[in-house]
């Protein structure tokens, strides 16, 4: 390659002017951090308590609801329960139904499929309430064991019973007194202090009802017992009579228990 050509080639290099690139400046803005929310001090502009009592909110404690709030429905249930207890002491007929009209509906879980937790909570609360009610009832002495009641009396007592008459249903006494007489003969009378435990007049009747329940349970147990059936102690007539008496008694006692 001769120098002439070389010179021409190098001229390409000398004459080449690369294009100028203008690079723009683009801002990448500084993004502040996210701001947590902390609230603000109490401005003491809250309306006063309607009864004019001081509420100390914002003074001794922050003015915020407690972390754990009761379930309104559960509280309503409790109140309903209380009202019922109180009502039972007053007049036996209106006890249960007294406040019913004004009470709010029971709570419900809007969408149990989505909120299994909510449903579980609700079930637990209601169960807890029933447990409380049940434990209140078990304060009364446990009913006597039927097996024990079915044991034969000692021969002396049996001999005594053979000789004496059972209480006569035609006596001129009211159902309550008659029931007590029958129970006394069978040694099933309710303990004297049963009424005092509940603290209201209704539980005296409740004690009597429990004793009668034991009596009838005992009666049924004997009647259904194959041994006694074979003996033919409970003839058709006797059974009907006893059933009628039972119905008569329970029908008379039952309403006062509600």
């Amino acid at each position: 390659m001769d120098p002439q050509q070389l010179q021409e080639l190098f001229a390409f290099a000398d004459s080449y002017r690369p294009p100028e690139y203008q690079l723009p400046v683009r801002l990448q803005p500084f993004l502040p951090d996210y701001v947590p929310a902390i609230g603000a001090p109490n401005a003491f502009i809250a309306p006063p308590r309607p009864d004019g009592e001081p509420d100390f909110l914002g003074l001794t404690v922050l003015d915020e609801p407690a972390l754990r709030q009761s379930d309104p429905a559960a509280v309503a249930l409790q109140l309903r329960h209380q009202l019922r207890l109180q009502g039972g002491g007053g007049s036996s007929s209106s006890g249960g139904a007294g406040g019913e009209g004004g009470l709010p509906p029971l709570g419900w879980v809007a969408d149990p499929a989505r909120q299994p937790q909510g449903l579980d909570d609700w079930i637990q609360q209601v169960e807890g309430l029933h447990q409380e009610a049940a434990s209140a009832a078990t304060l009364a002495p446990a009913p006597p064991d039927l097996e024990r009641l079915m044991q034969a009396w000692s021969p002396e007592v049996q001999a005594q019973l053979q000789g004496s008459a059972l209480p006569d249903p035609r006596q001129d006494v009211d159902v309550h007194t008659f029931a007590r007489m029958v129970l006394a003969v069978l040694d099933l009378a309710p303990p004297a202090n049963a009424g005092a435990a509940g603290g209201s007049a209704g539980s005296a009747a409740a004690g009597l009802a429990e004793a009668l329940h034991s009596l009838f349970a005992l009666y049924l147990e004997f009647r259904n017992n194959p041994a006694f059936q074979q003996l033919g102690v409970f003839g058709p007539a006797a059974a009907t009579l006893a059933d009628a008496a039972a119905e008569h008694d329970s029908a008379a006692v039952q309403p006062s228990l509600v």
Binding site: S70, P104, A110, E132
Partner: protein, 544 residues
């Protein structure tokens, strides 16, 4: 167990139970029951419903012609309005109420809020106290404990945190039983960036009242500010799960409940959900935050920031529409959204607005020497194409903001524009964000800086990465053109020849890809090819 009596429920702040007691107590006078209903709603943080209930109570009072307390319902309703941030209405209503300390307190706080909105542009410095609210303060300052506490809260609202803290300290020394004051002191300390002091105050409060959502939340915020977001999240996790969990399945019942602010813990739950997003660096924010706008004060700005981070400045702007910025942060958020949108859409109007907002913050006396203030000045200058002027501001915060990609980017460009090639390349190479690394503008600047500080091979690597990611895209061709010409100018002719050769290759690939579809632009393509060839020829020769 007996059902909780009313007083007991109130003592425990179990407003849900108290509500149930009232609902189940028949025979209460309508006015009284409305009043209690409203009071309980107010303290459960459900001001909207409380407002309605007080309205109902007022009507009941009017119907019963018990003229005595009828007027104070105006004050009660004003308090609800204040809680709902409807300050103007609250002020008007409060003025109709009977004169009493509550009225004065309400008017003071309305004025503080309205003042702030009217004249709190950071350029004007501290908001001047109107003579009126000064009178009220004097009047209340001599009053009872509640009045003095109210004054302290007003000081806090006007960002005089030291003044508020002094008042609280004094009162706490006189009445050590007022434990809530410890929590207020914690707020003051927090706002003065004393996070350790704040945590100590909160601990003192929690020792007395462990059952506090606000305290637990503030504690978490302190942890977060101290740089421990994980602990902060953990603290929130210790709260009842129904408060922390995002609305069930982001739809249906949960969503509705969140929107309406139902439940006795509505306000607290909103706060917790909001902060869980903040501590989680915005995670889940797109679902959680929108319903909280207007419920939690900070939610709007955080959502704006989230939209900006996710590259959706248009939505951020939509969220800001109608809002007059008051605090520095509000100005910054607006400026950022405008800048991003203006640059993306090429809207000069938005860029101008962004510059003004940035300047407003950067030149305000309170922000002059803060990091955000300098960032704002630099941003305004960069937006105004004055990168050299922006450089000193950026350099002054470079150390504090080390690791911030935005700083690396802006600093790199500003240094590059000032001809500090090596320092510029260093800054640019510190960028971590993937989408920014793939930005063609970033690559162009990096290539130029690398070539000009004598690292042609590193520059070539930048091209190779771009090529690997984008293929034969026009942006890659442009990058190659720049690379070639930069290399040629720098005298790295062999590298330049390589670049031009690669450019030719890319151009041919593009022509093949697009076939005849771009026939119209054929002359341009031919010219580009010729330029590439010329460059290649010259560089090859020069290499000899």
């Amino acid at each position: 167990m007996a059902a909780p009596a009313l007083e007991e429920a109130l003592q425990r702040r179990d407003f849900a139970a108290a509500q149930a007691v009232f609902a189940s107590t028949p025979g209460l006078a309508k006015e009284a029951s409305d009043q209690w209903h409203a009071w309980l709603l107010f303290h459960a943080g459900r001001a909207e419903e409380a407002l309605e209930a007080y309205g109902a109570a007022a009507e009941a009072a009017a119907a019963a012609i018990s003229a005595g307390g009828g007027k104070s319902y105006d004050l009660h309703r004003a308090a609800c309005l204040f809680q709902l941030r409807r300050y103007r209405q609250a002020q008007e209503l409060a003025q109709q109420g009977p004169d009493c300390p509550l009225k004065t307190r309400l008017l003071l706080h309305c004025a503080a809020k309205l003042d702030e909105a009217a004249s709190a542009a950071p350029t004007s410095g501290a908001a001047p106290t109107s003579s009126c609210s000064g009178d009220w303060e004097a009047q209340l300052g001599a009053g009872g404990v509640e009045d003095q506490l109210s004054v302290a809260a007003a000081l806090y609202a006007r960002a005089d945190f030291a003044g508020a803290a002094a008042l609280y300290e004094g009162l706490l020394a006189r009445f050590p039983d007022l434990h809530a004051l410890r929590a207020y002191l914690a707020l003051c300390a927090y706002m003065q960036d004393d996070y350790e002091g704040s945590a100590a105050h909160i601990e003192a409060y929690q020792a007395v009242q462990p059952d506090s959502l606000l305290a637990a939340n503030l504690r978490a915020c302190c942890d977060f500010r101290a740089g421990d977001a994980a602990t902060a999240l953990h603290t929130l996790g210790g709260l009842p799960p129904e408060l922390v969990a995002p609305p069930a399945a982001e739809a249906g019942v949960g969503q509705l409940a969140a929107e309406q602010g139902c439940g006795p813990q509505a306000a607290g739950a909103a706060l917790i959900r909001h902060n869980a997003v903040v501590f989680g660096d915005g995670q889940g924010g797109l679902q959680v935050l929108p319903p909280l706008v207007g419920v939690v004060e900070e939610a709007r700005l955080n959502l704006v920031l989230l939209y900006c981070k996710r590259g959706d400045p248009a939505r951020a702007l939509g969220l800001l529409r109608g809002m007059e910025p008051g605090t520095a942060l509000e100005f910054i958020c607006q400026a950022v959204a405008c800048a991003l949108h203006g640059q993306a859409a090429g809207s000069g109007e938005h860029i101008q607005r962004a510059r003004e907002s940035f300047l407003a913050v950067g030149s305000s006396p309170t922000e002059l020497d803060t990091v955000p203030g300098r960032q704002c000045m630099a941003s305004a200058l960069l937006l105004g194409s004055q990168p050299q002027e922006a450089l000193p501001y950026l350099e002054s915060v470079a150390e504090v903001c080390e690791g911030d990609d935005a700083l690396s980017w802006n600093l790199g460009l500003a240094r590059g524009a000032a001809g500090q090639w090596e320092a510029a390349a260093q800054a640019l190479q510190a960028v971590q964000r993937r989408d920014w690394l793939e930005d063609s503008l970033y690559q162009s600047w990096l290539v130029r800086c690398l070539v000009r500080c004598g690292q042609p091979e590193a520059a070539w690597q930048v091209y190779l990465q771009a090529q690997a990611h984008a293929g034969a895209a026009p942006a890659v061709a442009a990058l190659l053109g720049l690379l070639g010409s930069e290399l040629f100018q720098a005298g790295a002719f062999l590298w330049a020849a390589r670049a031009f050769h690669a450019l030719e290759h890319v151009q041919r690939q593009q022509a093949l890809l697009h076939g005849g579809a771009l026939a119209a632009s054929a002359p341009a393509a031919a010219a580009a090819a010729a330029a590439a060839w010329e460059g290649k020829r010259a560089a090859s020769m020069a290499a000899f």
